[in-house]
Amino acid sequence: MAGCGGTTKGSEDAAGDGGGNATEQKADPNAKIKEGLEITFLPKEIDNPYEVLVDEGGIDAVSELKGTGKEVGPSDASASSQVSYINTLIQQKADAIVIAANDPNAVAPALKDAMSKGIAVVTYDSDAAPDARQIFVNQADSEEIGRSQVKLMSDQIGGAGKIAILSATPNATNQNTWIEFMKDELTKPEYSKVELVKIAYGDDDDQKSFQEAQGLLQSIPDLKGIISPTTVGISAAARYISSSPYKGKVKLTGLGTPNQMRQFVKDGTVTEFALWNPVELGYLAGYAAAALASGQISGAEGETLKAGKLGEREIGKNGEIILGPPTNFNADNIDDFDF
């Protein structure tokens, strides 16, 4: 029945190629950042506290560059709700759109339309289809996140012992990528005495994560540490450990926010954990958008972005810029951060 003369997936009519990057103009690295740029941040949803922080950083960056930054966005993170906002920004003739895409494909036609009208398009946090934006500002390199988590854990348990991972859902893309890199890192000789015995899934649900942490510790008596590369998982696990006899004996690390983890660092449950700085992510995206809109960069590989107090970043393959290695938080520096 399939493909008898009709249009099928992969047939020529269905190629779905948007014709590549719509704004392929030459960049002038010495061009000045234009004043009065209107740059709008379009998060996945407007009430998400993480995204609010990111966008604050972005709006700060735009203000530094004497432009006008604002944040608009839907109150639900559904796939199509961002499209109306993109259309509005096209009509308002914004200079740049900085978007965390809810669905890489659903927003693509609207973003291409924006680019064809000379609007600079930057994605951050969550990418759109690569031909529908000029630059993607990635929080951190997946490989670096995965490998650095293993190092954090190994340092805390003295390089030997059984460890477990408490992840989000079994099919979470981010977490699974990181876990693959963790496994790869563990094959290195310096980690030969570290043994990954189990991966548990707390589904990014506070209560389930709490119970999974409890289960891990009770079923594996000689467990030395847990890595939880999700903000929900690490705080739930910390809550369990802090009130259990395992406190101080079992190490916990992963990705968490300083505000969630502050009390557990202070009471000795957690020694050190990591996360990229969301304010800096927005800041970098703001600079990238302004530089694009001013013709300083075009999004091509090898160009250099001057990003204010963050210094310089090189644009990598597929127009990707990486914020940098995640920040490690411990008792010494945690009070310097408020997010």
Binding site: M1, C4, T8, G16, A79, S80, I90, Q91, D103
Partner: protein, 343 residues
């Protein structure tokens, strides 16, 4: 008849014109590209509202329309991913919509269950089945030779193809509701199913057919949605049933059945689409937009009630004019004739 027209439809028309005149003051509103987008953005809602209108006229409801859309979108994605040709998928998906509509119809008509309860159930059920099909995945890469029908305008004008389809469907529904005998029977059923049944109207058959139509229109809307966003997902059009119901009620259709016009619903749709667009352009946040839509809805129910006493002064009191409108055994003929001819 005139008095009735002077009521809600007029208020709506003024509102609609007001929105578009006020819109002219917002930068970028009156551009052809923006008008196209505004129309296109409401094409799926309009199809769902036109599917709902005849059902609400009979005093029933179908809250599963957006979930049917979601399921059909997920099905489109699944079949496309499996390599089936798009030409084969279209009829299959419409058939699937009709099947989902028939499940509603069987439960409501054959088993006599309340449509509100049944379709709240299938609202969850169909959305759930959509997730069973696609999970969290999104299917994309739909054929570029068909996508323009859901995204482009006709030969350089402001009128999108999808809106033309909406117009054709709207006219079809208007003919069905306001011209045919079946249409007349919808009002009769809405004013009193028992009376209608005793008058020889095949109430069950009519209702059954309306739910099949609703499923089919939701499937058509799903094809537009999927092609427009080039993305088939299980959460497509999540919550859209409420926007469609709002358009129907704002259009002056009585939720108890027996009163309402296609023109009213069409005007309400245009006013809502225009208002949403203007509010977006003026950077009014989503929350405030919801407040405004909510107030408008309350107004739409309130105004006919407020205007009612004046009407009873003009005309001799008929039993059917007494509030609440439907009394068991009341002579609904007068109202029926008036409403039916009211367009």
């Amino acid at each position: 008849m005139l008095a009735r027209l002077l009521r809600w439809e007029t208020v709506l028309l003024v509102l609609c014109v007001g929105v578009f005149v006020a819109g002219g003051a917002s930068d970028g509103f009156a551009e052809s590209g923006n008008i196209s987008f505004l129309l296109l953005d409401y094409s799926e809602v309009a199809l769902l509202a036109f599917a709902l209108l005849p059902i609400v006229l009979t005093g029933e409801i179908d809250l599963s329309v957006a979930s049917t859309l979601g399921f059909c979108s997920a099905l489109t994605g699944t079949l496309w991913d499996a390599g089936m040709s798009f030409e084969t998928i279209v009829p299959l998906v419409i058939l699937a919509g009709i099947v989902l509509g028939s499940v509603n119809a069987v439960l409501i008509v054959r088993f006599g269950l309340p449509s509100l309860a049944v379709t709240i159930g299938t609202l969850g059920l169909y959305r759930g089945l959509a997730y069973v099909l696609l999970g969290d995945r999104a299917v994309t890469g739909f054929p570029e030779n068909y996508r323009p029908f859901a995204t482009d305008s006709i030969g350089g004008t402001f009128l999108p193809y999808a809106t033309l389809l909406v117009l054709v469907v709207g006219i079809g529904i208007a003919v069905l509701v306001h011209v045919t005998t079946t249409g007349r029977s919808l009002y009769a059923i809405g004013l009193g199913a028992q009376t209608a049944r005793f008058s020889g109207i095949r109430v069950d058959r009519v209702k059954f057919a309306l739910y099949l139509l609703s499923g089919a229109l939701a499937a058509v809307a799903s094809l537009i949605y999927t092609l427009r966003y080039n993305s088939a997902r299980a959460d497509n059009a999540n919550g859209m049933e409420l926007v469609a119901v709002a358009a129907v009620l704002l259009g002056g259709v009585s939720i108890f059945g027996g009163r309402g016009t296609v023109l009213g619903v069409a005007t309400a749709l245009l006013a809502m689409a225009g208002l949403r667009n203007v509010l977006f352009l003026d950077d009014v946040s989503n929350e405030i937009q919801n407040v405004i839509t909510g107030l408008l809805l309350i107004l739409s129910v309130l105004v006919p009630v407020v205007f009612k006493p004046r009407r009873t002064k003009d005309a001799p009191l008929e039993p059917s004019d007494v509030d609440p409108e439907r009394r068991a055994g009341a002579d609904t003929g007068g109202r029926l004739r008036r409403d039916h001819e009211g367009v």
